[in-house]
């Protein structure tokens, strides 16, 4: 299929397998069950995580990006979940894994994996987004596609124990008010989290999309901190210390603070505010052939709760139409939006999406965001994104005067 009725398909295919011929795979048995006792995808599928060499000196303290253009629905295939490590991926032996809970608690405890699994459990579908997602675009458009402008973003069904339940096991001292959470990798990554969030919806997770959390996502246990920046979702979790104030560690001062034009930096900017991006069409999914029907589709999310509306513009924000949101719309989860469009012959278009959430927050323009924060804050870039659709169907990452 192409955009033109009756036109030949882009990939013509092997006539031997096309009607009226019987395809070769209908003429011979294929491999049977448990040929793959644990299965993988088709050899014809090629979507991969990618990294950007110039961003980091090595691949151990680095990031790779989810190919958002290849995704369907809201669940991210675990094999394509973006990565952000500070010392590589530890090979944690599950029998040797322990979680220590201590500090301002009544009963300092350690938990083995089977202890965690015995506690009351919960499953939730939540997105995780690195707050540096799109950070390369504060000064202007420079990345080639949506994998790099927005690909530090994924969404999974997480299963585990409410952190509250673990704190219940240990008991809290009266002055408890902040937690230090620590990973067991080579960077022994730490962040401070206010107790109120810990008692709200944080999960100590061992399950991801129906199986164990993947190594790159923190096997065997990671923190799930719904709606908050990915950096606090500590992976390979090994320790929770309860205290009465934040720690001001490297990852919450040197990094993950937002530098303002006046030279001061905002600290503890936890929430990933309302955001969205069109994933089809996009630079990786250009439109080929003749104009006609196009379903514009993308992802919206908010760390503050449910997405309530997504508007789409094809004229650079002059006029907007509300998109359809795929049910169920879940709080702090990716939300798939779709809107039908008719692409006219020779039409140049500026595609944008603008999300709103249940707290009333509206995704800002780049101009509004820069006016508030300048261009050096690295994190929490949630501006309305623009794709330029050229008359030949090429889609280009651009920024416009809004």
């Amino acid at each position: 299929g192409t955009l033109g009725a009756g036109a030949a398909t882009a990939a013509e295919g092997d006539p031997a397998n096309l009607p009226p011929n019987t395809p070769e795979w209908a003429k011979a048995l294929g491999p049977g069950v448990i040929e793959e006792a644990y299965g993988t995808r088709s050899r014809h599928e090629t979507a991969v995580r990618r990294y950007v060499p110039w961003l980091t000196q090595d691949r151990q303290s680095s990031v790779s990006f989810t190919p958002l253009a290849e995704m369907h629905g809201i669940i991210t295939a675990s094999g394509l979940h973006f990565e952000r490590h500070h010392g590589g991926v530890p090979d944690v032996v599950p029998a040797d894994w322990r979680l220590m809970v201590h500090g301002l608690v009544e009963r300092p405890l350690q938990f083995a994996l089977e202890d965690i699994k015995r506690l009351p459990s919960v499953s939730r579908i939540h997105f995780i987004e690195c707050p540096a997602n799109g950070g390369m675009e504060w000064r202007g458009a420079q990345m080639s596609g949506v994998q790099f402008t927005h690909g530090m973003l994924s969404c999974s069904e997480w299963t585990g124990v409410p952190l509250k339940a673990l704190l219940g096991q240990a008991g809290l001292k009266p002055n408890a008010s902040w937690l230090l959470v620590e990973g067991g990798d080579a960077s022994l990554m730490t962040r401070s989290i206010p107790l109120a969030k810990a008692l709200d919806d944080v999960i100590v997770a061992y399950g991801q999309n129906g199986e164990a959390v993947r190594p790159q996502q923190g096997y065997p246990v990671r923190l799930v901190v719904p709606g908050w920046e990915g950096n606090v979702w500590i992976k390979w979790l090994r320790r929770i210390e309860v205290g009465d104030r934040p720690w001001y560690h490297r990852e919450e001062t040197r990094h993950y603070t937002d530098l303002m034009p006046d030279g001061r930096a905002r600290k503890f900017t936890f929430v990933n505010e309302v955001n969205s991006v069109i994933t089809a069409p996009c630079p990786e999914k250009p439109l080929r052939g003749k104009p006609g029907f196009v379903e514009i589709s993308g992802l919206a999310w908010s760390g503050a709760g449910r997405v309530t509306r997504v508007d789409v513009s094809v004229d650079g924000g002059d006029n907007w139409r509300a998109a359809q949101l795929q049910e169920p719309v879940l709080g702090k989860a990716l939300t798939r939006f779709r809107v039908p469009w008719e692409w006219r012959e020779g039409q140049r278009a500026f595609l944008q999406s603008r999300a709103m959430d249940e707290t009333g927050r509206v995704q800002p323009t780049f101009a509004a965001l820069r006016k508030a924060r300048g261009v050096e804050s690295i994190y929490h870039k949630n501006a309305i994104h623009t794709w330029l659709l050229e008359p030949d169907g090429t889609v280009v990452n651009v920024q416009i005067d809004a």
Binding site: V52, P53, V101, H102, Q110, F111, R118, L119, A141, Q142, M143, S144, F148, K164, A165, Q169, G171, L172, N175, A176, A186, L188, T190, L195, R238, E241, G243, P246, W247, H249, R250, T253, L259, P261, D262, G263, R264, A265, R266, K267, F268, E273, P283, E284, P286, D311, D315, G317, D318, N319, W320, M356, P364, A372, R373, E376, V396, N397, V398, D401
Partner: protein, 200 residues
């Protein structure tokens, strides 16, 4: 107690009491205010020697940073310019977390290999490189707590929402044509050209 209100009641038999000695081995963090600093001491001089052996290959002899490994010095006065440089000297608000980070995460390839004395010495040297300790200084917990970092007051609380909640639906550009301010084709071709799935 307020903090515990609404906490689930503990379930008997899940989780094992942890001893003070077990905690001690893992409770390696040092807070901004110095809580958690261990006994011990180290001098700038000792730190210099260790730094040259174990750190300079990445961070440079003077902490200037080789290739794209991070610099540990410089950037003071840059934070409100359009080329801000965030380093220990220019950006970190508290000194004890320098010790904390070096002990937990450095040297990069062999973390948790430094003794407390070595970590004090290296912290001393890094602070010296940033002109926060004289060449002949020795560092211990008390001394480290007493150092006031240049950017101590540089951090302010979260200040969002800070953008308008506007959602104009039609003729929002009021006749202004769209102007492209930056086109990524200046740098890369549209598609997946920004990155790789193989080590480069």
């Amino acid at each position: 107690p307020a903090a515990s209100e609404g906490l689930p009641r503990p379930i008997a038999g899940i989780g094992r009491p942890v001893t003070a000695q077990e905690i001690a081995g893992w409770d390696v963090d040092v807070r901004g205010d110095g809580e958690g600093l261990p006994p011990g001491r180290g001098s700038v001089k000792e730190g210099e020697e260790l730094f040259v052996q174990q750190c300079a290959s990445c961070h440079g002899d003077f902490g200037e940073g080789l290739e794209r490994w991070p610099a540990l010095i410089g950037g003071r006065g840059s934070l409100n310019t359009d080329q801000p440089r965030r380093t220990v000297g220019s950006f970190w608000p508290y000194a004890p977390p320098v010790f904390d980070y070096i002990r937990r995460a450095m040297p990069y390839a062999t973390p948790m290999s430094l003794s407390n004395e070595q970590a004090y010495a290296l912290t001393a040297y890094v602070l010296h490189l940033n002109e926060l300790l004289p060449e002949d200084a020795e560092l211990d917990a008390e001394k480290l707590k007493s150092i006031r970092m240049p950017n101590r007051d540089g951090f302010v609380p979260e200040a969002r929402p800070d953008t308008p909640d506007e959602a104009c639906m039609s003729s929002c550009r009021q006749g202004r044509p769209v102007a492209v301010t930056m086109d990524s084709r200046r740098f890369v071709q549209p598609g997946s050209g920004s990155g790789f799935s193989e080590p480069q």
